[in-house]
Symmetry: C2
């Protein structure tokens, strides 16, 4: 509790998260991490028992960061169309503002560890997903709510996933990387489903 060095652990995590997001667990060595944090590799083991624990803590922190949003994004009382619009905008802002979150999620899904996926589903997404199902049911009653929720999420997430390659694809304009432009586009698509 004494001084500035209590922050080291948090600093390590902060610097490690983007490394794991970009290159994956196996793609980052403890030595690389140490270099990025400007410490000796051995020092990392004072703060974390091993590499796996460091990764799990990085993962946990990245997901916890958005736990509040996941729970409080549906407080607004309004028409389902207005709520949809708001949720789309918030999701775009969230995903655009934290690329690491999406990447780590993608990597976890591809890795396919069932226990971890079960955990992520239950403790990170369940509440949010349930709210989304409900919202979808109210603005698109003809659609299966689970499929509809995935569609809305995919419609948003994919635009940010492909950001690194987007500028090389036909028809690209700088505005296509803008969070608000994407949000408006997605909403304009989905509101035709509403009526």
């Amino acid at each position: 509790m004494s001084s500035e060095k209590q922050n080291t652990k948090k600093e390590i995590l902060a610097i490690t998260i983007p490394l794991f997001a970009k290159s994956g667990y196996a793609g980052v060595s403890m030595r690389q991490i140490a270099k990025a944090v400007d410490l000796q590799a051995a020092t990392l083991y004072y703060h974390f028992p091993d590499k796996h624990t460091l990764y799990i803590e990085a993962l946990t922190q990245t997901f916890n960061k958005h736990a509040d949003f996941m729970k409080e994004s549906f407080t607004l009382q309004a028409s389902s169309e207005q709520r949809l619009h708001q949720v789309i905008q918030q999701l775009c802002t969230l995903i655009n503002g934290d690329t690491d979150f999406s990447k780590l999620m993608q990597r976890e899904i591809m890795g396919g560890d069932k226990k971890r996926l079960q955990f992520l589903a239950d403790h990170v997404f369940a509440g949010f997903f349930r709210d989304m199902n409900e919202l979808c049911l109210s603005f698109a009653p003809d659609q299966d709510p689970h499929l509809m929720t995935v569609s809305v999420l995919g419609l948003i997430a994919y635009h940010f996933q492909i950001t690194p390659i987007r500028s090389f694809l036909p028809g690209f304009q700088a505005s296509h990387n803008d969070s608000e432009v994407i949000a408006n586009h997605v909403f304009s698509l989905l509101k035709t489903v509403t009526k």
Copy 2:
């Protein structure tokens, strides 16, 4: 040209692709590959100069496999709505039938090597993407064609991306993993945009 051993190289690639897809470049060792192919690790170096080249060839083969579809999916002369329906179905079949393709693509995008992304964009997706832009323009003239193309692709791709975690999410039913069910859902969403 003599005998059965000319196939070794192709066999190595065939077995390597799913390994790289699931665990990424750094997540797979030459020894693991050798074991999976039932060869000694040193033998791999007779067929490929190094690991990187093996990976690039695996990548290339995976993408080339679909080059034909990417070029010939738009020959059908019909209403834009019918063509959209057909393209959606074909994309679902393709993505559902080759998980490795999507995973390798995702990993490439997350890795962020600009030269490789430029190459993939130009040599794998450019033609297809251009056709999609055109199709989008004809069935949804009010939307930006580039954004609309990405939306259609994301709407489809995301459903398959999340397959491993889907069964843990609220509202899941077994049918949600079915390629045809997804295709019909996506089309039913998009056709409301058409009118």
